[in-house]
């Protein structure tokens, strides 16, 4: 299928399939970050299938778009999306967290398609500023994207970087916030409140767009081009942690919960029902 011409419904169908792959991979590995993966899956789906100028063939090109996943723990969805895009065979997902497998629980450059090793929080944005600055110096057309968790924003390094991105007018940089409002301990507003996010980023000199992080037209519109010339773009994507599986949605314990066999079965059945609904609706 040609990604460029995929309809929203086709992408939504792909998302359901990727959710299933992600859950199966986490179940197989016996470990993983389920809730935050499902919350950002639609964002990755849009990025890799509609926005990023990158493919297995162009990954070595200096002109490729860069994506650095700052919330590295949501790696299983990234693996699933990269496998789907042909960066490596899908069968390799079965080796996640296995002895001597490069598919560890956070992204590493050993995996085709991954730009930087992340996992410690608050690292992606500074790295992306370096990448965006390099692009500006070279007059290169590429864009740079990073995905941050909302809980991750408590790391001070993000705010050092937020200053620098605006200072250097990095309109080739987009930071996406997976705003699912939950972190490992509970509600972000209770752990360390960070609202109002939009006003904070605006005050730091960014162009801010707030979207439904599961809405394909909204995500596509916000990510396809920089929001404003001379300013970095911050896309606040309002998402649901555990999105797509009823008993995982908005439940903090699924941050790194691993489904039992029965739970996996129920989750896959729900996702199959979602497929039926989508395909039924298309008839």
């Amino acid at each position: 299928m040609d990604e460029a011409t995929m309809t929203d419904r086709e992408l939504q169908l792909k998302a359901v399939r990727l959710r299933k792959k992600t859950l199966e991979a986490i179940f197989e590995a016996g470990a993983g970050h389920t809730g935050g993966g499902l919350s950002c899956l639609d964002i990755l789906n849009v990025l890799y299938n509609r926005v990023l100028n990158v493919s297995p063939q162009t990954f070595i090109s200096p002109m490729r778009d860069r994506y650095v996943q700052s919330k590295g723990h949501s790696v299983e969805v990234l693996y699933a999306v990269l496998a789907d895009r042909g960066f490596f065979p899908e069968a390799e997902l079965k080796t996640i967290c296995h002895y001597k497998s490069h598919f560890v629980g956070h992204p590493t450059r050993h995996i085709p398609g991954i730009e930087m090793n992340t996992g410690a929080l608050g690292h992606g944005l500074p790295i992306c500023i370096g990448m965006a600055l390099a692009g500006k110096m070279d007059n290169a057309p590429y864009r740079v994207f990073t995905l941050l968790g909302d809980g991750e924003l408590a790391e001070g390094s993000n705010w050092e970087a937020a200053l620098a991105a605006a200072h250097y007018k990095l309109d080739n940089l987009t930071a996406i916030i997976d705003h699912n409002t939950l972190q490992i301990t509970g509600h972000t507003r209770e752990v360390m409140s960070n609202e109002p996010l939009d006003e904070k980023w605006r005050a730091f000199g960014w162009a801010v767009k707030t979207v439904d992080g599961h809405d394909y037209p909204q995500l596509t519109d916000a990510l396809s081009k920089p929001a404003e010339q001379g300013k970095p773009t911050c896309v606040i994507a309002n998402t649901i942690k555990g999105r797509g599986v009823s008993f995982m949605e908005n439940v903090a314990k699924w941050h790194h919960g691993v489904p039992s066999e029965a739970e996996l079965k129920q989750a896959l059945a729900e996702l199959d029902a979602a497929v039926a609904k989508l395909t039924g609706a298309s008839k």
Binding site: M116, H123, P126, I127, G130, M131
Partner: protein
């Protein structure tokens, strides 16, 4: 920095005073950057203390200021390197290697980008500014992190060679030095190879294994001990990682006693690296680590601190003499 006796020994050796390694670094980097527009210096409000103000004026497009934000400095330096720039992150060693250690570990070393990190005013160079500004931990922590070359140059020659090496390196490099003017220890024809010790003086009674700004004191101590008929070897251990185990083991075999000298905590630095190499090879010789002990560091200028902890011609020759007495 030097007593009258030490200055006399300097004269005896005919050592010429060069400039600060910091100045040598800045001049070398500017020279390289003029020829290679891909070289970028990144500073954290540190262009003045890094002597890079002229660089910034001559090559404004090749200097990126990040403000007082060392974590951001290292992340940006890594991102630049990942996109094909030869980036040099320049910041006081104390902040660079403590505050931004996680960025060094993950963004630079683990991600394996060819970034260079320059720790300026390292060790106790900031002297009386106190412990906040000292870096006595940097070699220890970076030794424990995989995938980074660590260079501690002793003089202008070694500094220039280290920067030339770093500019071509395809892997992470950390170079740390101070800001005091340094005597020239090596002849221009000396061969510098990363990971290979320079034997500054040969001998087989005591081996002084030293790094950075302490090497000159070891050399002067060797001169003083020669007056008592003792022949001392002085190794400039400019590369802390990869470590020249061959030179250490050779010294262990051939010399009667070993004194290591470093401007660093006695924990985890050059001395313990040498001890580890020797002991694991079954080489047990009288051995003393001279550095900054595990205590609240004495206050004063760099010279005061050196003298207080025996990093001086007099202190090192006394340490060596006492060690030989234990035989």
């Amino acid at each position: 920095m030097f007593s009258a006796d030490a200055k006399a020994m300097v004269g005896k050796f005919g050592l010429k005073m060069g400039r600060a390694n910091l100045d040598e670094f800045a001049a070398t980097l500017e020279e390289l950057a003029k020829a290679n527009p891909n070289i970028v210096a990144v500073t954290s409000d540190s262009r003045g203390s890094g002597k890079l103000a002229p660089f910034g004026k001559t090559l404004p497009k090749q200097l990126i200021e990040v403000g007082i934000a060392e974590q951001n400095l290292v992340g940006i330096t890594a991102g630049l390197a990942a996109c094909g720039k030869k980036s040099f992150g320049v910041s006081p060693a104390c902040f660079l290697t403590a505050r931004a250690l996680e960025q060094i570990k993950n963004d630079v070393c683990y991600s394996d980008v060819p970034a260079v990190l320059i720790g300026i005013s390292a060790g106790v160079s900031y002297g009386a500014l106190g412990t906040t500004h000292h870096s006595l931990h940097d070699l220890a922590v970076l030794r424990a992190i995989n995938n980074i070359t660590i260079i501690v140059p002793a003089d202008n020659f070694e500094t220039r060679q280290a920067i030339l090496y770093a500019a071509k390196a395809t892997k992470p490099v950390f170079v740390r030095f101070g800001k005091a003017p340094m005597y020239e220890l090596h002849k221009p024809e000396t061969r510098f190879e990363t990971g290979k010790t320079i034997t500054t003086r040969d001998g087989d009674d005591v081996a002084f294994i030293a790094a950075g700004e302490t090497v000159v004191h070891a050399l002067l101590a060797a001169g003083k001990l020669a007056e008592s008929g003792l022949s001392c070897r002085v190794l400039s251990m400019h590369t802390i990682k990869p470590f020249d185990t061959g030179a250490i083991l050779k010294a262990g075999r051939e010399c009667r006693a070993i004194v290591t000298v470093e401007e660093h905590s006695v924990s985890g630095g050059l001395g313990e690296a040498c001890a580890s190499v020797l002991l694991q090879a079954g080489t047990c010789k009288p051995f003393q680590i001279v550095g900054i002990p595990d205590e609240e560091t004495v206050t004063g200028a760099q010279a005061d601190i050196f003298r207080h902890y025996g990093i001086s011609m007099e202190g090192l020759s006394e340490t060596a003499t006492n060690l030989l007495k234990s035989l």
